[in-house]
């Protein structure tokens, strides 16, 4: 039932944004941003149990913590919102920059995993 409410909300706000775009394009962008925020927060509501379950599974398989993976997911999700809102507003250059920044940050967040990988490989090769 929650999902149908969300879809209904999206459809209504799409129509509203279309009306706003005709009279006041600036408010259309803001309304789209507000709707994205509401949807993201409600989607994240179901995210916590998912993360706990995945971390339990990960602990069973290997000792590595999934914190870097979680950080990467967070960075990517936020960057995606920013990129899409920039594209809607017509700022493709800004969208590209947000994407670039997100890639760099994800690489930084994933560094510990690279180290573990290198140690694993060097252990195998010896």
């Amino acid at each position: 039932m929650e999902w149908i409410k969300l879809v209904g909300m999206v459809l209504v706000s799409v129509v509203l944004i279309a009306v706003l775009k005709q009279y006041n394009p600036v408010y259309a962008i803001l309304a789209a941003l507000a709707c994205c925020t509401i949807l993201f927060v409600s989607a994240m509501g179901q995210f916590v149990p998912l993360v706990e379950y995945v971390s339990q599974l990960a602990q069973r398989i290997s000792t590595t913590d999934i914190l870097p993976v979680l950080k990467a997911v967070g960075i990517v999700l936020l960057a995606q919102i920013a990129r899409d809102v920039c594209k809607d507003a017509g700022q493709n250059a800004l969208a590209g920059q947000v994407e670039l920044a997100a890639r760099v940050l994800v690489m930084v967040a994933a560094l510990p995993l690279f180290q573990q990988l290198l140690e694993l490989i060097s252990g195998l090769l010896v």
């Binding site: 509203l16 009279y23 408010y27 803001l30 309304a31 507000a34 509401i38 995210f47 950080k71 936020l78």
Partner: protein
């Protein structure tokens, strides 16, 4: 954090647009620009509150 936020923004946008036209037609371009700015500031303050809530949630969820 429900859809009424989107409704509020849409309502403000349309009212400001109508006021804008009204003021322009009656020859007061400056006031028209002022009302548009005022409406924009009101909507921005509402949105900034929601965005800060979103960032708090992301930081807490993903331990960023």
């Amino acid at each position: 954090m429900e859809i009424d936020l989107v409704f509020k923004i849409a309502a403000i946008g349309i009212i400001v647009a109508v006021l804008n036209q009204l003021l322009i037609r009656s020859g007061r371009e400056e006031q028209a620009m002022m009302t548009t700015l005022a409406g924009l500031i009101v909507v921005l303050t509402m949105i900034v509150g929601e965005i800060s809530q979103l960032f708090q949630l992301i930081k807490q969820l993903f331990q960023l």
